[in-house]
Subunit: 449 residues, 2 copies
């Protein structure tokens, strides 16, 4: 299909630019209309690709976009999942080109959502269109189920899947929302960490107070916050919340070997990130720390005066965002309880502390020997000339565990991103080569099934 | 003078409203034109009050406003100091009326700067005007030296004083920028804490990273920040920076008794602030903690994602604002060095940490038996019917130490604020009763000298 892809490449890119310029940020309520616009744009695009029964399905949050083509008789059915929502774009000042004015530069397309996940999702839409144009039909039955809430942990998709098992039933779930190991080395991820995201709020007095008149004599919300946040780790890089590691499997020799097989260049990683050292839990390698070990990271913190210059106050309010990555049999609800208990135990006097859960997702493990996954590996090999590796991914795609369990189907994580593509960060981008080769790979895979 | 004050009260208040509506925030560069407008307004007001040689003196920062009336021959000379700049107004959402739309309610005037220090400064301007209108002259020689940088620690006034010793020479320096003990109980403050304000910046990677792909494997700027900030205090409420307490005098029995004499109602303070407990350095009372003990307070903290919802990043940048109050012979430069050493010692691997000094001021102590201070006490007593107390103030007016040392004159801290007037906080206000009685008190004092 390489020729056909090349023929239509510039048209496809023009369409992708249009898709990427919609700021469909699911976590910010002021962008709700943009998320809706994103759903509408995607639905139109599915119809253009020849999908039938295209629906924009309302939920309590952002809509799900569905479409199918079911005329391949006894051929297998593939359910394609992806998400059209994106992360917030701040800090805006660090973007070299505006996040929602997609810019093509050095064979990459720069925009929020370029790799996570609009660009990768669009690979499938365009693959269907090419197959239809080429053969007048698809080689397998296809269902698209695309959500607009992945970046807020899919609160409405899980119930939707449970209520629509028949409608969504499939022989494989195909998802492109993960990364290569590095440029030229494809990967099919076979393990995803679970997640638990929290918001911690501290309140002391009912107003900010003058640090001259009250400083030293009243509780300070930021002192409480940093004391609590500082208590989450010990100096071995371990999480010091009692019970946090319950359910975390002791890594077997085999697992450690598998992880070690994934190529990783510490020096070039440090150089790329501008770091003198990498840092994490004692006794584990970088790949283990980010792949098979659980973590607790503070994602944001704020309180008191943050402007230019100074304001000598005792701040009355402070807050932090925290997220955990979970593995093995760690249960997000249980981890939440443990953190709550930890805070109650550590909490200094004079502060009101509240902990809210923002999202949770269970860890998931997939069987790399499954036929559906092995065939995907073959298609990768055909297009890229290199057989994919099967890494343990550090990130979380909460819905993978639900698809796998509720639909009882193998999930094929056929990612076309690169780890260097700044997902969730300023200057997110997608290599156009992987966009076009991605379309080839998907076409080959479906033709092969 | 009560009658004359009452006669002109409404005109004076209209003028004060005009003065308070100028957002002369010295710490925010976008308000530079407003600060200049404030200086011009004040200069016009001094001329209206009959002052001569009125000048707006340029500095490297915001201008100093000078004016004098020197025709009282061999009578003493009083230098009046105040500041026309104000604190930032945020958090704006907590103001019940807009900070720069002064509002009169329940005999109070609400606005940023109402009590700190425009309202108190304006007492002197209007006192001069009344004395001039009444007697055609002033009973003493008067010099006004008003700055626009008090809230950023007077970086240009100190050199100005040193270069203009002759021009500013006086028998007393009169300042209204402090508070009563409580409504009806005036106070002449005889001790001010010094100050040291700092900005702490932490940087790790050159960009925010995805907490799924990198979480647990790279340094997190907020982890470093909270570890450092959390290390500044021990669980006794003491500052744990080595050498911090050098130069802090062991409080004598007499000093502790003096401090204990200042009325203080713990229960009503807690109730007013919405606090279950007060908190501070072990072994000291609330009044000691905020009056004669040094402190280190975190005034603000920020880093990573602070918006609505979540963003699962490993943040690469985080910062904090810190300020110390100093007493006795503590030297701000020495304390800065100690904090720097502490940070170098505590700093975790993989972080670039920088510490910048924003302001510094030495502590100051005044002799309450001085005649100029005792006469001020008598004027307070005449107008309010209560003799003032002589408390140790927890705040810092950095320039007091400079006036006292360079001009070798007693400084009279004749404050008309109330501790409940929310200075540096939302809903700052001034009791109009203290504005009018303040004018009376100042007139009486000058007539008495």
């Amino acid at each position: 299909m390489r020729k056909q892809v090349e023929l239509h490449k510039s048209r496809f890119l023009t369409e992708l630019v249009e898709f990427l310029s919609i700021p469909s940020i699911s976590s910010l309520s002021e962008h709700k209309p943009d998320v809706q616009r994103g759903a509408k744009w995607l639905a139109d695009s599915l119809e253009l690709a020849g999908m039938e029964n295209v629906e924009i399905i309302k939920t309590e949050g952002h809509p799900i976009v569905y479409g199918d083509w079911l005329h391949a008789d006894d051929k297998p059915t593939v359910l394609i999942y992806g998400h059209y929502d994106v992360q917030p774009a701040d800090p805006l000042e660090l973007w070299e080109t505006p996040p929602f004015e997609p810019t093509i530069k050095d064979d990459k397309i720069y925009a929020r959502g370029a790799t996570d996940d609009k660009g990768q999702l669009f690979i499938h839409v365009k693959a269907m269109q090419l197959l239809m144009e080429e053969h007048g039909k698809l080689p397998v039955n296809v269902k698209f189920c695309i959500e607009g809430e992945e970046e807020v942990a899919s609160p409405n998709l899980a119930p939707f899947i449970k209520e629509n098992q028949e409608k969504l039933s499939a022989d494989a779930v195909l998802i492109s929302d993960t990364s290569f190991i590095e440029k030229g080395q494809p990967a099919i991820c076979t393990s995803l960490r679970g997640a638990l995201a929290l918001e911690l709020n501290v309140e002391t007095a009912n107003t900010d107070l003058h640090s001259g008149s009250y400083g030293g004599g009243v509780p300070n919300s930021i002192h409480t916050l940093v004391e609590l946040l500082g208590s989450f780790h010990n100096n071995q890089g371990q999480v010091s919340v009692e019970g946090f590691y319950e359910g975390v499997p002791e890594p077997t020799e085999q697992l450690r070997n598998e992880v070690a097989e994934i190529p990783f260049d510490e020096e070039s990683t440090k150089k790329q990130l501008g770091l003198d050292v990498l840092y994490g839990e004692n006794g584990f390698t970088f790949q283990e720390r980010v792949g098979i070990r659980p973590t607790l990271e503070i994602n944001g913190v704020g309180g008191g005066f943050q402007g230019e210059g100074l304001k000598t106050i005792v701040p009355s309010q402070a807050q932090a965002k925290i997220s955990c990555r979970l593995v093995g049999d760690q249960d997000p609800s249980e981890v939440f309880k443990r953190i709550e208990q930890h805070i109650q135990k550590q909490k200094p006097v004079g502060s009101k502390v509240t902990l809210n859960q923002l999202i949770q997702a269970k860890p998931v493990s997939l069987d790399s020997t499954n036929e559906m996954i092995q065939k995907a590996a073959s298609s990768f090999e055909k297009v890229y000339g290199v057989r994919p590796l099967f890494p343990k991914e550090g990130g979380s795609i909460p819905i993978v565990e639900v698809f796998s369990r509720v639909l009882d189907a193998p999930v094929v994580l056929m990612g076309f991103g690169l780890p260097s593509e700044n997902l969730h960060a300023p200057n997110e981008h997608l290599h156009i080569e992987n966009f076009t080769k991605g379309i080839e790979t998907v076409c080959d895979y479906l033709l092969d099934l």
